[in-house]
């Protein structure tokens, strides 16, 4: 335990847990102490993250680094195995950045029923789960962290949520739990069928599914698919998302959109594809199909919304469709695009939810027909909203583009053609090319609903009912919380290689199983 | 002696016991009917034991008798408590255990 590489990840996972314990100890009345403790905890975690960034070996992004491998439950050969590579690193840092920003954002406006102590404790617990999921290299450990995330989110929606919060929180919980159950079955199947009877993700990935028959792989993959696809969420498993987003408090929505959804896609890239390559090949065209349906369908649903937050929630369905399309192609382009898309979506949609939340705080409504003239009442916020809408519709030069374009590109030439369920190479190829065109049309729809939203909310004159209302422009704490995200959107848009150079090596190592 | 006689007798005893358990309201009578059913089983055990020349059946029967004794003890205690609380041995009035 002398070198930073040995304890960094463990610390990153458990510092928030310690912070949570501290928050629990402090008496409820001392709110400032509670807030400061929570913020400091998340900042310490971020500092560890920066240390990891500095110490990461960027020449070997495919290799697992910062590994910790200790015996944990010898009976079932489950180990305490942590490690990160080029795919986990961007997501890990994203999580570490988002959490302190959320704490700062909620500094002065905790949603009803207030109670910052419980709220912050839950956020820190959530951070434990999220970080843990991204660094776990053991299926059991992964599953535990994956489930840890559920609980705080459930309470966040259920306690601090909107009027329909009970329905939304229970729906969220049940839906996800249903998926996890099947996922657990698939994990057990992998454990018993793999040659070495192990839960270790790196070992299993190295085996590339050898020893598990093709038909079995297909079944096991279906189990994993349900577990992860519900989390993503893919069409038609998405219906929990709009409800959860609409009812969740602002910070909850931000965390949900920015990080929680990525747990699903990350699961695909880290577990489902490398461990069950043959299963992935069979399912890929169908995943692609659901992805493009999600892209178009999410966009169409957006066009029908009156509630701003619900619109952004449906846009998440469409955007995660692009991410999943990239993954479904099983190519380097696709997986690089998917990871970039996850980060970009985290920054952009997180920002959109922040703005939507701030607007709700000021106008006390999210009904778009009642809003309008934000550019007049609060010009800075109006500009920020416009900027985020542009980023979200995939304007080149901003981060959103780099998740979208390479994903569409990758669909032109998917790998593992011959093994597709259609049987022959040609038909799989043309299936994916059709997906490519449909996804490209999805970008037009995206522009349509986002600009339409912006026109109704941002442009025009303020509505009479809010003419006299004093609408504050962006507050100081909002500036602090938003600036890093805004900078990230621009910087990653201008220099995409900041992320691509990290993910590239790891993505190639994942797709090696498919290139043969 | 053919084993059928024993089996018919035990079936009769069991049915009588089952009827008592299901139909009687008095809890003491229900307990006694349970005894009847247990003894029907005992009869079966002993009969089969002699038939197949294996002593383990009789050992089981002894066990059943012992346990039946214990059961009656506990059962009577419960009946007593029911009576004390409800002022009646009527089983139909014991229905708080529903969902």
């Amino acid at each position: 335990m002398d070198s930073f590489k040995d304890w960094a990840l463990t610390a990153a996972v458990f510092v928030p847990l310690v912070g949570m314990a501290l928050v629990m100890i402090i008496p409820k009345a001392e709110e400032t102490a509670i807030k400061v403790t929570a913020l400091l905890t998340s900042l310490v975690t971020l500092a560890i993250g920066i240390g990891i960034l500095a110490d990461f070996d960027y020449d070997n992004t495919a290799k697992m680094q910062f590994q910790v491998d200790k015996e944990w439950i010898p009976l079932i050969n489950a180990r305490y195995h942590l490690g990160i590579d080029g795919i986990s690193l961007p997501l890990l840092i994203l999580t570490m950045v988002i959490v302190p920003l959320c704490i700062i954002y909620s500094w002065n406006h905790f949603p009803e029923p207030h109670n910052p102590k419980a709220f912050l404790a839950l956020i820190l617990l959530l951070e434990v789960g999220m970080i843990g999921t991204f660094v776990a290299l053991d299926l059991v450990l992964f599953f535990i962290f994956f489930e840890v995330v559920l609980l705080p989110m459930f309470f966040m929606i259920g306690v601090w949520g909107g009027p329909n919060r009970e329905y939304a929180s229970i729906k969220f919980f049940l839906f996800t739990l249903f998926g996890s159950a099947l996922m657990l079955v698939a994990f057990l199947g992998i454990y018993f069928l793999s040659k070495q009877q192990t839960f270790d993700i790196s070992t299993l990935s190295a085996l590339e599914g050898s020893g598990i028959a093709r038909g079995t792989q297909v079944l096991l993959f279906a189990g994993l698919f349900l577990g992860f696809a519900i989390k993503v969420p893919m069409f038609p498993f998405h219906t929990w998302l709009p409800d959860a987003h609409t009812e969740a408090p602002t910070v909850g929505s931000v965390l949900l959109a920015a990080v929680l959804l990525k747990l699903g896609t990350y699961g695909f890239v880290r577990i489902a594809l490398p461990i069950l390559p043959q299963g992935a090949e069979v399912w890929a065209p169908w995943i692609g199909l659901l992805s493009v349906i999600g892209i178009i369908y999410g966009a169409l649903c957006c066009l029908a919304q009156r509630d701003m937050k619900r619109l952004i929630a449906f846009s998440s369905v469409a955007h995660m469709g692009f991410v999943m399309l990239g993954i479904a192609t099983l190519t380097d382009f696709g997986i690089n695009a998917a990871v970039f898309g996850m980060v970009a979506h985290g920054l952009i949609t997180g920002m959109l939810f922040f703005v939507a939340g701030s607007m709700q705080h000021r106008y006390h409504t999210r009904e778009m027909s009642r809003l309008g003239g934000l550019l007049v009442s609060a010009p800075k916020m109006g500009w920020i909203l416009g900027f985020c809408a542009m980023a979200s519709l995939g304007l080149p030069g901003l981060a959103g583009f780099w998740g979208e374009f390479p994903a569409v590109l990758s669909a032109f030439e998917p790998s593992a053609l011959a093994n597709g369920i259609m049987g022959n190479t040609e038909s799989t190829l043309w299936t994916f090319r059709t997906y490519m065109v449909i996804a490209a049309i999805g970008t037009v729809l995206a522009a349509g609903y986002l600009l339409w939203m912006y026109q109704r909310v941002g442009m025009g004159e303020p509505k009479p009912e809010f003419e006299d209302a004093h609408i504050h422009d962006v507050h100081v704490d909002e500036w602090i919380a938003w600036t890093p995200l805004l900078i990230g959107i621009v910087v990653f848009g201008l220099f995409p290689n900041l992320i691509f150079s990290i993910t590239d090596g790891a993505a190639s190592s994942i797709t090696r199983a498919f290139s043969g | 002696m053919p084993i059928n006689y024993f089996l018919i007798l035990s079936a009769f005893l069991f049915c009588a016991g089952a009827y008592g358990v299901l139909a009687r309201r008095n809890s003491v009578l229900v307990l006694m009917s349970i005894e009847l059913m247990l003894n029907a089983v005992n009869l079966n055990l002993v009969a089969f034991s002699t038939q197949v020349q294996n002593v383990s059946g009789q050992v089981f029967a002894l066990f059943v008798i012992t346990i039946a004794a214990a059961e009656v003890g506990i059962g009577l205690a419960i009946v007593l408590l029911i009576y004390r609380n409800l002022r009646s041995p009527d089983l139909d009035r014991v229905e708080q255990l529903k969902g």
């Binding site: 590109l409 490209a440 026109q455 | -």
Partner: protein, 692 residues
């Protein structure tokens, strides 16, 4: 400069940020930053052009050592292989992103076409910056306006110097964004934001084609690099099928961006933006991005559409149809900016048709000259609305402005004549280049289309000039000449409209445009270099002149009649005389009642109706339909079916649970009965199974 041309867009990008963050605090509200930046860019663009020309001349004529000092500045100029007419473009770049260890670079590329575009964009942008100081004076969002102009210039220049298609895509979308921002500059009024949305969405529809086209080309040529792609398209191993798909996809992009038939409807609406923006973005620069794409990737289209085979192809047909549709619509507009907008559509049709008939040089040359005279016309229209009609563009409120606004009048007239293609103004030379190529290639049909288009152009522009500058003033303000900030750019553009064509004037043995700017590396070798055809030139000029004369005759007649009409309303005798006079005019009836009014009336109106109802109707219908479909999917499918299924499962479980509670009665004997019954059923089942 040839190596470091990326500095030019960078200057503009920096200027954008500076204006955005500090503009408000400056005395001129940020305009000074914009003007200085674009001025610097213009100077750098000129230096680049001089160095490039120097390089070209050095390679072609061996004695060309006159500018060796300047050549030394561009230190990386590699001497082209002696005698080879092909001059290598200067390309450099740095890593932008990577995939599977393959690195994609972002970089700059300088060749003849780029130099030409740099010059045009920076020059017109500079003039518009200057012009706007007066025109946008005291605007609500003056600073934001200048910031957006800077951002636009940066994006357009980025697009122009792109070394690869991905970078071009970035610039392409960014100019679209700026167009959106500037069309919707006065977003408080709904029609403006509607127009902005329409423009963005229509061009974005075309961008689906660009995205797909770029992807197909990437997988065909295995590179985003423009030189590599062009080389591939011309090489024998090119995959014709893929290139054909790519060409069709890219054609959609051109149609969206360059306002070609049937994606052109956004362009007239885009006139909701400030007039200098219309001149810069919707006439001279952004809308020609589509044509620029065609020029840039010409070998792809050449191969994909089999242009060398002659006859018909999608590109030429769309261009030709656009020429006629645009020109016909320009007749019926009352808004001067809309006349110019439809004229722009028609002229862009010329450029696209030129590409389709193999006239690469003609397209580039027309792009070059059109930028000057169309910007001149738009800025002239702006000058009128600024100083004469108080921000109205309705020609019914103009008239007789020749006297109070002489500079505006003369510059507008020069622009008109150049647009009509009268010798020796700029439009004549470029139009002639296109027509000659179409004639000498195998594209006679399109030559005729071009001639008809030229005649129509001349006629509607005459109508426009007449309604604006002749007759009586019909407005309610006090027209006066505009300030120098407005008139100086007009004069500069008018001079250029006069002389720009002369750099490629065959009869005078000047072929500088071809010599300097055709050197782009990798153009099809079979491309025809047209000979100057005196007969064709004579026909086109006389057609245009005839059209002008005819239209002028018609309109001046009407003025006379209009004067008489005024008289007839006062005097019954005069009224009778007027009727009598009218009846004498059989010629008038023929011209007016049959030919002109059928073209001007039903035909043009029908095409306008078609435009507004069918095409626009489809666009709106698709939008509305998508919204309705969205609503339907959401209501019926999402909320009822998918969500309903989820809710139903929950409800069923709850109901089943409710049913089960009845079983748990709390009665011991009922439990016992159940127990016995179950045992019985199970016993029966086991029995049956054992028998079977």
């Amino acid at each position: 400069m040839l190596d470091n041309v990326w500095i030019i867009p960078l200057i503009m990008a920096v200027s954008y940020l500076l204006i955005l963050f500090f503009g408000r605090r400056l005395p001129k509200k940020g305009a000074e930053i914009g003007i200085v930046a674009i001025g610097a860019s213009f100077i750098l663009a000129c230096i680049t052009a001089v160095q490039w020309i120097d390089k070209v001349e050095g390679a072609v004529g061996k004695e060309g050592g006159g500018h060796s000092g300047l050549a030394a500045l561009g230190h990386s100029v590699v001497a082209a292989a002696t005698g080879a007419p092909e001059i290598e473009p200067v390309v450099n770049g740095f890593t932008w992103w990577q995939n599977n260890r393959v690195e994609f670079v972002v970089g700059s590329r300088v060749d003849g076409l780029v130099v030409m575009m740099l010059f045009v964009v920076t020059l017109i942008s500079l003039l518009v910056h200057v012009y706007s100081t007066a025109y946008m004076h005291e605007d609500r969002r003056f600073t934001h306006y200048y910031a957006a102009l800077s951002l636009f210039s940066a994006s357009m220049l980025l697009l122009v110097i792109s070394a690869n298609l991905l970078q071009l895509l970035v610039g392409w979308e960014l100019v679209g964004l700026c167009s959106f921002m500037l069309i919707g500059h006065w977003w408080e009024e709904k029609p403006n934001s509607d127009a902005a949305l329409k423009a963005f969405l229509t061009t974005r529809t075309g961008d689906v084609g660009l995205m797909c086209g770029v992807i197909i080309v990437f997988f065909a040529a295995n590179s985003f690099d423009i030189s590599v792609i062009n080389e591939y398209a011309l090489s024998p191993e090119a995959n014709h099928g893929l290139l054909q798909w790519a060409s069709i996809a890219l054609m959609f992009a051109i149609m969206g961006k360059s306002g070609q038939f049937f994606l052109h409807t956004w362009l007239p609406d885009a006139m909701a933006g400030p007039t200098p923006v219309s001149a810069l973005i919707h006439a001279a620069t952004m809308v020609v991005a589509g044509v620029y794409l065609g020029l840039r990737l010409y070998p792809v289209f050449w191969e994909g559409f089999s242009i060398h085979a002659g006859g018909m192809n999608m590109m030429a047909i769309i261009g030709g149809v656009t020429i006629l549709i645009g020109a016909a619509l320009a007749f019926v507009q009352n808004d001067i900016k809309k006349v110019l907008a439809y004229s722009t559509i028609s002229q862009l049709g010329y450029m696209v048709m030129a590409l389709g008939v193999g006239a690469w040089l003609g397209a580039a040359f027309h792009l070059f000259t059109h930028a000057f005279f169309k910007a001149c016309l738009f800025l002239g229209a702006g000058s009128i609305s600024h100083s004469a009609t108080h921000h109205s563009f309705d020609m019914r409120e103009m008239g007789g402005l020749r006297k109070p606004m002489p500079i505006t009048f003369w510059t507008f007239l020069i622009g008109t004549v150049a647009l009509a293609g009268i010798f020796p103004f700029a439009g004549f030379w470029s139009k002639d280049e296109i027509l000659a190529t179409a004639d000498q290639g195998d594209f006679q049909v399109f030559m005729i289309v071009g001639l008809v288009g030229a005649a129509m152009t001349a006629a509607y522009m005459t109508r426009c000039v007449y309604l604006t500058f002749f007759g009586k003033y019909r407005g309610h303000h006090h027209p006066h000449e505009s300030t120098p900030a407005i008139t100086v750019p007009l004069v500069v553009l008018a001079v250029l409209s006069l002389v720009a064509g002369l750099i490629q004037s065959a009869p005078f043995e000047i072929k500088k445009f071809q010599e300097w700017f055709e050197q782009v590396g990798g153009l099809p070798e079979e491309m025809i270099v047209p000979k100057f055809d005196y007969g064709l030139a004579a026909i086109s000029v006389s057609l245009a002149t005839l059209a002008i004369g005819f239209a002028a005759f018609f309109f001046f007649r009407r003025e006379e009649r209009g004067a008489l009409k005024g008289l007839t309303e006062r005097n019954k005798l005069a009224h009778a005389g007027y009727r009598f006079l009218e009846k004498k005019y059989y010629l008038d009836d023929l011209y007016e009642g049959v030919i002109v009014s059928s073209v001007k009336g039903p035909i043009a109106r029908a095409s306008y109706w078609f435009n507004m109802h069918v095409i626009d109707g489809v666009v709106n219908g698709v939008g509305r339909g998508a919204a309705r479909l969205g609503r339907w999917t959401y209501d019926v499918f999402d909320q009822d079916l998918v969500d309903g299924a989820v809710n139903d499962i929950g409800r069923e479980t709850a109901m089943a649970g409710g049913g089960m509670t009845k079983l748990q009665s709390g009665r011991l004997q009922r439990y016992a009965l159940l127990l016995l019954a179950s045992v019985g059923i199970i016993g029966l089942a086991v029995y049956i199974v054992n028998i079977a």
